[in-house]
């Protein structure tokens, strides 16, 4: 399954990049810089979505004690963390020419930063517990707590921000050009497929690692040898 997702991700990336750089016209207000959005928006949305999926898998693993879903959760975490980082990075690079600042203490930005910390906490907790079953269960609990807290943090930061400074910057250009939309969707799909491919690849490694003593892996090894 992995090659299929990987190939389609690659195709989508090429198509998406083509549309975003050659087809989509220059934005009137933002100039060329808006093209960063083509990578920024998919990365941000996916980083949040992956967290939800991860917390969901973790909860499944915690409640029904299924090993595969816990492994899926731990396979998703690094990808999510990287996408969160990417979202912050591209956001900063977009913010500098647009807002004149690398960083603004806006609710969205702060939540994304916290999201990155939650991912890092999940990974660090999982990595520092030797017993894999305890690691799965402890980090699952953390993921669930985190998913409860993200909305609280989002609203509290938003509230704090609106008290501090009147006008927070909103995304401009509500009515997007068709080509822009197409570019965005294609890139979104590409990142999506990429995330699936790379997590599947990772979960395969994790399964091999964890099940190395069971029968079927050694049988697999016989075949490969």
């Amino acid at each position: 399954m992995v090659p299929w997702f990987a190939c389609s991700a690659a195709i989508m990336f090429v198509a998406g990049l083509y549309i975003s750089f050659f087809v989509a016209p220059t934005d009137i207000q933002q100039g060329e810089a808006y093209r960063i959005m083509f990578i920024h928006v998919p990365a941000s949305i996916l980083s949040m979505f992956i967290y939800l999926v991860m917390a969901g898998y973790a909860a499944l693993g915690l409640i029904f004690n299924t090993r595969l879903s816990s492994m899926m959760a731990s396979a998703l975490a690094p990808t999510g963390a990287l996408l969160a980082f990417l979202s912050l990075w591209t956001g900063a690079l977009w913010g500098k020419p647009m807002w004149g600042a690398w960083w603004v203490w806006d609710a969205r930005l702060t939540s994304e930063l916290i999201l990155l910390f939650l991912y890092l906490g999940f990974i660090a907790l999982h990595a520092s517990i030797d017993d894999p079953r305890r690691a799965d269960r402890a980090s699952a609990l953390l993921a669930i707590i985190g998913s409860v807290n993200v909305p609280i943090i989002y609203f509290s930061v938003q509230w704090w921000n609106t008290l501090h400074q009147g006008a927070s910057v909103k995304l401009t250009g509500t009515s997007m050009h068709v080509a822009m939309q197409q570019g965005m969707y294609t890139m979104m799909l590409a990142v999506w497929l990429y995330a699936i491919a790379v997590s599947l690849l990772r979960v395969r490694s994790i399964i091999l690692e964890r099940e190395s003593k069971t029968q079927w892996v050694s049988e697999l090894m016989e075949i490969k040898r």
Partner: protein
């Protein structure tokens, strides 16, 4: 042989933890002194202009309180874990959540309450108005128990791990952001003349929510960690 009631268990554990803390007074004092030192370092770092200090005082005190409470989190369960008392605690015939709540309350009395008591003095150092100090105290009273509760979850999750201290900060600090925002915001609202009560009521709501969920989650985390 009488059975111990729920309240009996609660007070037993609180009394036990307080006695233990009193016999290890140095630990309690370390947290408090750390708090005072961190707050006192800020004017040295940013300069002694009174206007600026007055403005940043609530934030500084809150951040210092947050850091100080992180400092004492490691001790919450680890000593009991090392000598086996925690195993016995998991076998209480009453709900583990109640026991955890007792431990959290004891932890707050030992590490949170001294900070609240110390805060007005530090507020005066930063030339805060009496009214602002009053609000700061109320906010700290509402907020520091939440820090203990959220911290308990982190402490339970990282129980017995190497490098647990740094890890617990990584896990807990991001979750404490709302407390920090509303806590510091309340005192700042006094300065800027906006509504204080909304901040405090939000803080109160957070406290109630934490009171309901965190003992239960901490108990669950302890069960996971003890396995």
């Amino acid at each position: 042989m009488n059975k111990l009631s729920l309240i009996g268990l609660l007070s037993l554990v609180i009394r036990r933890d307080l006695v233990l803390a009193m016999r290890r007074r140095a630990d309690v004092l370390t947290t408090l002194i750390f708090f005072i030192i961190v707050v006192s370092l800020f004017p040295l770092g940013v300069g002694p202009e009174m206007d600026m200090l007055r403005k940043m005082a609530p934030g500084v005190i809150w951040v210092a309180a947050l850091l100080a409470s992180m400092l004492s989190l490691g001790r919450m369960f680890s000593a009991d874990h090392l000598d086996g008392t925690l195993e016995q605690m998991m076998l209480v015939p009453q709900s583990l959540s109640v026991l955890v709540l007792a431990k959290i309350l004891a932890h707050w009395m030992v590490s949170g309450l001294p900070l609240v008591i110390m805060a007005p003095v530090l507020g005066l150092q930063f030339d805060m108005t009496t009214q602002a100090i009053g609000v700061l105290i109320v906010a700290l009273l509402l907020g520091t128990p939440i820090l203990s509760m959220v911290g308990a979850v982190g402490a339970a999750l990282t129980l017995g791990l190497r490098g647990g201290g740094a890890l617990v900060s990584l896990l807990v600090l991001p979750l404490c952001i709302p407390v920090l925002i509303f806590g510091a915001g309340a005192a700042e609202a006094v300065v800027s003349g906006t509504s204080v009560s909304s901040h405090l009521s939000l803080l109160g709501a957070l406290l109630v929510m934490a009171l309901i969920f965190t003992p239960w989650v901490t108990a669950l985390a302890l069960r996971i960690s003890m396995e």
